[in-house]
């Protein structure tokens, strides 16, 4: 019977993490000559453990991966001593689903295959909420944002803004939970770095596309260590001075380094890459800390990375094109 203790959770995770796919196993799956043989190689690793027999018979790899992700997330939520904090790492899935459901409703299409399982909220709840426009069962922050979006829709506001508003709601919810929990550890560091990097990307895009400050403010997200004013006040700052202006707070040096690289290369992807590297670094450092939720979050992210890698491999196999074996970074 699962218990809500950190030691119990890490003990279970220690065993579960031995079942994660290795780089060598991924390579073997990639080297299989046909999709069917690749599937057989995957199932040989024990990857589909716990997946229903019916689904295995069906043999649809994407459904198996989805089912696995759902099972792992459910298991993690049973194990973790702090569901609210772990849920923060699942919010991007809910954010994606909310955007997808809303867009599908507006376009009159079915969101079906674009939805992802394993978010913090039940998929059925989100489907019902978006179809009935009744958001009272969602957390306060999401409820208010979605009600505002529905009101904007009636007024005929640009639908492209919804995406930024839902992202903003996610970071507002994260900031709220972190504050309520008085969280000072790596989880706060992770989300604050993520928010600062997203805001930096928004600032750089806004400068390139010559947005006005009000439009930039709409896409800035909370939870970062750099004051939002710092971003809105630097729309006109010369590019070579931008890094120095953003170099404030604990994430300042990482942001400044990324901005400097961007200024030298004029390539926005360097900021994204720098963000991913820095976020991974935070998780890597914490992954072996037995006195924090680091191992639990590390396992969750490793499962995500594994699912992404499998999708790349099977996508390439089914599409008949060459792809490199994705690296399992965590």
């Amino acid at each position: 019977m699962p218990q809500s203790s950190l030691e119990f959770a890490i003990g279970s995770i220690s065993v579960l993490s031995t079942h994660l796919l290795t780089q060598a196993q991924l390579r073997r799956i990639m080297e299989a000559p046909t999709v069917k043989e690749a599937q057989a190689a995957l199932l040989e690793t024990g990857y589909a453990e716990g997946v229903s027999e019916a689904l295995l018979q069906e043999g649809e790899i994407d459904k198996i991966i989805r089912e696995q992700m759902q099972l792992s997330r459910k298991r993690i939520m049973e194990l973790t001593p702090d569901r609210e904090l772990i849920s923060l790492f699942l919010l991007p899935v809910d954010t994606h689903n909310l955007k997808t459901l809303l867009k599908a409703r507006l376009l009159g299409t079915d969101a079906g295959e674009f939805l992802r399982e394993g978010g913090a909220f039940s998929l059925e709840l989100l489907k019902d909420a978006v179809s009935t426009k009744y958001y009272d069962d969602l957390p306060e922050v999401y409820k208010n944002t979605m009600n505002k979006i529905e009101a904007d829709l009636v007024r005929g506001t640009d639908p492209l803004q919804f995406s930024a508003q839902i992202d903003g709601a996610m970071f507002k919810e994260i900031a709220k939970v972190l504050q309520e929990k008085n969280q000072q550890g790596f989880i706060k560091d992770y989300f604050s770095l993520w928010a600062d990097f997203l805001n930096t990307q928004s600032l750089v895009r806004a400068r390139l596309m010559k947005w006005d400050v009000d439009k930039l403010r709409l896409v800035l997200v909370e939870a970062g260590a750099i004051d939002l004013k710092t971003f809105s006040e630097n729309m006109e700052t010369p590019a070579e001075q931008l890094a120095a202006k953003l170099n404030t707070g604990k994430n300042g040096s990482a942001i400044a380094q990324a901005v400097n690289e961007y200024v030298q290369t004029n390539d926005l992807s360097v900021i994204v890459n720098r963000m991913n590297t820095n976020l991974l670094e935070i998780l890597r450092k914490e992954k072996s800390n037995c006195e924090s939720l680091g191992p639990v979050v590390g396992y969750l992210m490793a499962r995500d990375a594994e699912a992404r890698a499998l999708r790349v491999i099977f996508g390439a196999k089914q599409g008949g094109f060459e792809a490199q074996v994705p690296e399992l970074l965590i």
């Binding site: 218990q3 003990g11 220690s14 065993v15 579960l16 194990l79 037995c290």
Partner: protein, 159 residues
Amino acid sequence: MITLGTALAFGGAAFSAALAGVGSAKGLAIAGQAGSGVVAEDPDKFGNVLVLQALPGTQGIYGLLIAFIILLKIGAVGGAGVKELTTFQGLALFFAAFPMGIGGLLSAIAQGKVAAAGIYLTAKRPEEFGKGITMTAMVETYAVLALLISFLMVYGINI
């Protein structure tokens, strides 16, 4: 008659047994929860987990040993009757219990944490079980030193 010195000696015995016992209980609980998590996923590891979980239990035994020696010294065990100690003799026995009480409490908790880490190590790499035990046993050194000094002190007091 129970003098203040005799009461202090009893206090020392209680202090040693209680603190070291609490430390061991806490250490065992930490390692036990970690072990339960591992066994929940892989019941075959129970044997290895049990050995690591048991290690922080020794401090409680050492504390009990010092308490027993103090009680033996003041005649509370053995049927000879409790001796009337001077206040200084009692204080000396009380302080003699300190190393084992405090050393046992803290080292058992620390050892429980290392045992938990050893259990995680064993879960991931069963072949490293021996290293997990070695690292956990290193913490024991300081519990043994505490036991030794408490033992020498109790025996050094003339009654």
